[in-house]
C-alpha cells in the first residue's frame, strides 16, 4: 500500500498518433474514494486517457501515477488493485459467463473464485445466466457481466468507458444504482468516460470536459451548470462543444 492520497494523478500528459495530437498537456487528479467523469465528443481523447491510465498505452510526455505507481514503468505493481470495463473489449463469447468470470477471478489471484463469481452474478442479476455462453446474452446482460468482471477483485480504482452505452433507460438506471452502492460500500475511486450527462450528474463528484485533447472545462457538475447558467450538464456540454475557442 502507499500513502499517495490520490487514486490517479496525471501531470502534463501528452500523446500523439502521427500528426494527430490526441492528448495535449492535460493534468488532473482523482482523490481516493472520489468519482471523476471525462466528457468530450468523439475523438476528444477520453479513451486515449483511460488507455494510458490502464498502462495499455505509453504517453509521449507527462507523468501518470495510479494508486501511487508510475503506469508506464511499474504497471504490474498495481494491476491487481484496479479494473476496467469498456465497449472496446469483450469477453470470449463461446465461454459461459461462469467460465469467463472464473478465468478472470484466477487471473486476479482470488482464492475463492467460485463464491466470488456467484456472489457478483447475484449482485448484478445474471445468476440465472451463469451457465449460458456469454455470446448468447443480450447487450444489457453482457454489460452487467462485464461490470461483474470489473468488480471481481474489489478494485480500489475502477475505470469505466461508456458504462451504460447501448442499455435501455431502465437497465442503465439499474447499473448506475449498483455502481453507486458499490462505491459507497467499498470507498473505491471511479473514473468514467461518458457521453451520458445525466449519468455524470448522478455519479460524478467532478467532471472534466475534453476538446481536441485539451481540458477546456472542469469542476463539479453543479459548478459547471452554475458557471454557464444552464439548466443541466447536457446544455453545458453542448455549449462548450459548439463554441469555437478552445480554452487551454
Amino acid at each position: 500500500m502507499t500513502s499517495e492520497p490520490q487514486a490517479v494523478r496525471v501531470e502534463n500528459l501528452a500523446k500523439n498518433f502521427g500528426a494527430v495530437q490526441a492528448i495535449d498537456q492535460i493534468s488532473f487528479a482523482v482523490p481516493k474514494g472520489g468519482c471523476m467523469a471525462l466528457l468530450g465528443g468523439n475523438g476528444a481523447g477520453k479513451t486515449t486517457t483511460l488507455s494510458i491510465l490502464l498502462g495499455l498505452l505509453i504517453p509521449d510526455g507527462g507523468k501518470v501515477l495510479v494508486l501511487g505507481q508510475d503506469m508506464v514503468h511499474h504497471r504490474f505493481r498495481v494491476l491487481d488493485r484496479l479494473n476496467f470495463s469498456s465497449p472496446y473489449v469483450d469477453l470470449p463469447h463461446r465461454l459461459t459467463v461462469r467460465e469467463n468470470l472464473t478465468v478472470y477471478a484466477l487471473l486476479f489471484g482470488l482464492h475463492r473464485p467460485r463464491q466470488r463469481v456467484e456472489q457478483l452474478a447475484e449482485d448484478f442479476g445474471v445468476a440465472e445466466h451463469l451457465d449460458k455462453p456469454t455470446g448468447r446474452l443480450s447487450s444489457g446482460q453482457r454489460t452487467r457481466v462485464a461490470l461483474a468482471k470489473a468488480l471481481l477483485n474489489d478494485p480500489e480504482l475502477l475505470l469505466l468507458d461508456e458504462p451504460t452505452a447501448s442499455l435501455d433507460p431502465d437497465t442503465a438506471d439499474w447499473v448506475r444504482t449498483r455502481l453507486e452502492d458499490w462505491r459507497k460500500k467499498s470507498g473505491a475511486a471511479l473514473l468514467i468516460a461518458s457521453h451520458n450527462m445525466a449519468e455524470v450528474e448522478r455519479l460524478a463528484d467532478t467532471a472534466i470536459i475534453l476538446k481536441q485533447g485539451r481540458i477546456v472545462e472542469q469542476g463539479t457538475p453543479k459548478a459547471l451548470i452554475d458557471r454557464f447558467g444552464r439548466a443541466n450538464l447536457e446544455e453545458v456540454f453542448l455549449h462548450v462543444m459548439r463554441s469555437p475557442e478552445v480554452r487551454t
Binding site: L57, F76, D80, D90, V103
Partner: protein, 266 residues
C-alpha cells in the same frame, strides 16, 4: 517462478480448456488433418514400396515424416491460434489490464501448443499401427527428441507469427498458415538435404526441423540416432526462441506505444 505466476498461466490454459470442452468439432478438427495426411502418405508408401529400394528399406519413413511434420505444423498453430482466439474475441485488452504478464501469456500459449499437438497427432499415430503396421513409438526415446525439437520450433514460429499479427492486425492472420508451409520444402521432410540446390542447403541447415528430419531418416534407415543433429537442432531452437521472445516483447511495447492493444478484433 512464483505461484501467482503459475496460477495466472493455469487460468489461461483453463480458458482454452473451456473453449475446447464446449466445442467437439474443434477437437475433431485437431485430429482430422494429421490423420488424413498420414493415410495419404501411408498408402503412397505402400504403393512405392514395391518399386523403390530406398522406400522398401524403410517403408515407414514417409509415415514417420508426415507425423512429425504435423508436430511442427500443429506446434505452430497451437501458439498462433491461442493468440488469435484472444484477438478474435477482443479479449486482449481485458487480459493485459489483469495482472497477467506478457511472458505468462507466452508460457500459456506454449502449454496449449503442447496439448493441442498431442491431441491432434496421437490418433493418427495410433491409427498407423493397424493400417500400415507402423508404430512411430518403436523409434523409442529418439522420438521424444524429435517431438520436443519440432514442437518447440513450431511454437517458436507461432510466437513470431503472433507478434506480426499483434503488430499488423488481423489482416496478417493468414501468416499462421503461410509461414510454416514456406518452411516445408527447405525442412526436407521427405527427402535428404542433398536434393536441394547447393545455394539453398545452408538455409536448410539453419532450421532445426531439417536436422530433425535428417535425424529421423538416419534413425529409420541406418538405425543410428544422430546426436549431432539432435544437439544442433536444440541449439538452433534456443537461438530462435530468444529471437522470437524478444520480437514478441518488442512488439508488445510497440503496441503499447501505438495503442494496438485495445483496437483489435473483428
Amino acid at each position: 517462478m512464483k505461484s501467482s505466476s503459475l496460477r495466472r498461466i493455469g487460468a489461461l490454459v483453463l480458458r482454452h480448456y473451456y473453449l475446447f470442452r464446449g466445442s467437439w468439432p474443434r477437437i475433431l478438427e485437431m485430429a482430422y488433418w494429421p490423420t488424413v495426411n498420414m493415410l495419404v502418405w501411408g498408402l503412397t508408401s505402400q504403393f512405392l514400396a514395391g518399386d523403390s529400394g530406398w522406400v522398401a528399406r524403410a517403408s515407414g519413413v514417409f509415415i514417420g515424416a508426415v507425423l512429425l511434420w504435423d508436430v511442427l505444423f500443429r506446434g505452430n498453430l497451437g501458439v498462433a491460434l491461442a493468440f488469435l482466439e484472444e484477438m478474435w474475441s477482443r479479449n486482449l485488452g481485458q487480459l493485459f489490464v489483469s495482472p497477467l504478464r506478457p511472458i505468462e501469456l507466452v508460457a500459456a500459449m506454449l502449454i496449449m501448443s503442447l496439448l493441442r499437438t498431442t491431441v491432434g497427432i496421437l490418433p493418427a499415430a495410433l491409427l498407423a499401427i493397424p493400417m500400415f503396421d507402423f508404430s512411430i513409438f518403436a523409434l523409442g526415446w529418439p522420438l521424444l527428441a524429435f517431438y520436443a525439437n519440432l514442437l518447440f520450433f513450431g511454437a517458436v514460429m507461432g510466437l513470431a507469427v503472433s507478434s506480426l499479427v499483434l503488430r499488423f492486425g488481423l489482416g496478417a492472420e493468414s501468416l499462421a498458415w503461410v509461414i510454416i508451409f514456406a518452411l516445408a520444402p527447405i525442412s526436407c521432410i521427405y527427402y535428404p538435404v542433398g536434393i536441394l540446390p547447393a545455394w539453398l542447403q545452408p538455409v536448410a541447415w539453419a532450421l532445426p526441423s531439417t536436422h530433425v528430419f535428417e535425424g529421423l531418416r538416419a534413425t529409420m534407415l541406418d538405425h543410428q540416432f544422430s546426436s549431432g543433429h539432435f544437439l544442433t537442432a536444440l541449439g538452433l531452437n534456443a537461438g530462435y526462441a530468444v529471437a522470437a521472445a524478444s520480437l514478441f516483447l518488442s512488439v508488445f511495447q510497440t503496441a503499447r506505444k501505438k495503442g494496438l492493444l485495445l483496437n483489435v478484433g473483428e
